[in-house]
């Protein structure tokens, strides 16, 4: 069980992160102890490793949503709701890596790769390692998903309040899966369809990563429609800006800072707004180059440099920077009109700055 932490002022980022980690550790310790056998350690060890490395963005937004709705005093429920979002995010990442067949996540082997290695290390035959890793990762994701639910249910002890929170969680989950489906259908099909690319990031990121965590935290504090609406007005543009920044970092970022490859997005042929803009504006020679290179699994740094040159020459990169600025400013403007306590507004403004700033 998470220890309770009464507070009179708003908690800072490091203490939110620390409390969320404590709640997650306590939950998984209890699961390990209650398990009918030690076999489960095989999955929970990998799950713990994943949970250690997250940035806790959704957690922080959940707690800030709680504060925006006037939550104060006893933080436990908000922290546990936040921790449940982290477990849900592990589910999303592990299954996403299975779907994309990605080798690396957060600078470490992805779950299905790590579990394939664990299998052969424990004497499993090499010939079954890949299939085993995949099956075990699907199961690990499933477990993270159902446990995220349990952690949430244990967080909100008032049944009436829980009944307000659950529909928002249900929306968040369906929205993410809708975004994943669009992603799956468009990946590898290079198009200049900027509208579709924006539609995807609205579901995959703006709602899932920003709006809904704010909503869920706010609902834990008993928020009504005006607060939830203000969370949307702030969260959607911020979430879009955040994903647009992430897409830029996925191609132009510094792997040492971002912890992810700057070749993977190009190798997968991810249908980002950045790429759609470039395809739309490219000369026929440039378009030919993009079609030849983007989506190639053996794309190397030299070929990536050719693609990057086209993202620059078509001004796709500059346009995405402008789109980020517009959306960040819209998020700021929404804060000016929001019925949130001043301290919560200040924290949300700060996180909006950090999540969208240039790092290159």
């Amino acid at each position: 069980m998470a220890k309770t932490c009464p507070t009179t002022s708003l908690p800072d980022l490091p203490s939110v992160r620390h409390e969320v980690s404590t709640a997650l550790t306590g939950f998984l310790d209890a699961k390990d102890q209650a398990a009918p056998g030690t076999e489960l350690l095989y999955l929970t060890t990998t799950l713990r490793a994943f949970l250690t490395s997250g940035k806790r963005l959704r957690s922080v937004l959940c707690v800030y949503g709680w504060q925006a709705a006037g939550g104060d005093g006893e933080l436990t429920a908000a922290i546990r709701a936040a921790a449940s979002l982290e477990l849900f995010q592990v589910f999303a990442l592990v299954h996403d890596d299975v779907m994309d067949d990605s080798d690396v996540r957060r600078g470490q082997p992805s779950a299905h790769r790590a579990l394939a290695t664990a299998y052969t290390d424990s004497g499993g035959p090499q010939g079954r390692a890949e299939a085993h890793g995949l099956g075990a990762a699907v199961l690990l994701g499933d477990l993270a998903l159902v446990w995220s639910d349990e952690l949430l249910h244990s967080a909100v002890l008032d049944p009436g309040r829980l009944a307000d929170v659950l529909p928002l969680v249900a929306e968040m989950r369906s929205e993410l899966m809708y975004g994943q489906l669009l992603d799956l259908q468009t990946t590898g099909r290079l198009t200049g369809d900027v509208e579709t690319a924006l539609h995807i990031i609205r579901y995959k990121t703006a709602k899932y990563t920003v709006e809904r965590p704010l909503h869920i935290g706010a609902a834990v504090a008993g928020a009504g429609a005006p607060v939830l609406d203000a969370c949307t007005a702030f969260g959607i543009p911020l979430g879009e800006a955040f994903q647009l920044r992430d897409d830029l970092l996925g191609v132009f970022g510094d792997p040492a800072e971002t912890g992810k490859s700057i070749l993977d997005d190009l190798r997968e042929g991810k249908g980002t707004v950045l790429m759609a803009l470039a395809v739309q504006r490219a000369s026929s020679a440039e378009r030919k180059t993009l079609r030849a290179l983007v989506g190639r699994s053996d794309l190397d740094e030299d070929l990536a440099a050719e693609v990057r040159a086209i993202l620059e020459s078509t001004d796709a990169r500059r346009t995405v920077e402008e789109m980020i600025t517009e959306r960040r400013d819209a998020a700021f403007a929404a804060l000016d009109d929001a019925p949130f306590p001043a301290a919560a507004v200040a924290q949300l403004r700060q996180i909006a700055l950090v999540a969208t700033e240039r790092q290159t």
Copy 2:
């Protein structure tokens, strides 16, 4: 929405199945209508096809559990809880087929195969079909899982009652996943470990398929500990007997009746009680044959006949028949002591007979 169906006598099996199907159709219709785009039809069409073909065993047990706890009158909540178990079962089957890489389910292509075909039919490149089918099936299973939750939440409208039901659902889900993990770890490793094989069917089937559906239905009706305990005393032996029967049918059954191959279990090297008994008792020549044949993906009918001969000569088949009888009788004995209404006892006795009877 499911239509309400007040009743004065206990509903029969066909009407339970019909009401559950109506509830599922209504739920999915609402999901299709509320979707942000038509893309979702891609998954819901496959999901509907899967839901059409089930035997509704868990549904029936859920409704019978509700009756055993004295539920009467308005059936809607029990039917919707039952329908949510069917969605959960689709999740379990779809992910199970991904994990086992099975081609066939309920006489039809498994979800990942069906979705791979849908992908190429819609113009997707052949080279990506397998990866796409796998990714889409993982997503389909995820969606079925979170929607099973939503359907349950919408079934039990009293927040206090829902708070009694949710922990039982959480237990059921964790137990199934624990069983799946054991299954994953033992598949392909032929052993004479009967204890482990029994442990697996307790989690994968006895709890998941019988005990917990009874519990969940009973909790929807507001059951206390004596009713829940009696459900366990009846459900665990019945569930074990049911799985032992299923294992026999998986090797000796008539595919025209069971709708599943009688080669798949042998090809996968599934660690059943039947097989563990045979390995334990086999002569060294027989054991050598089992090790050479069980788990071979190209096992044909002639080779299967060799394996079946060993399952007979070691008396493994006969012992499993005896284990089924013992467990069925234990389930009957538990009914004699159960604090259930007489009509519910009669129905549970009937289902226990049907679920465990010889069909070969």
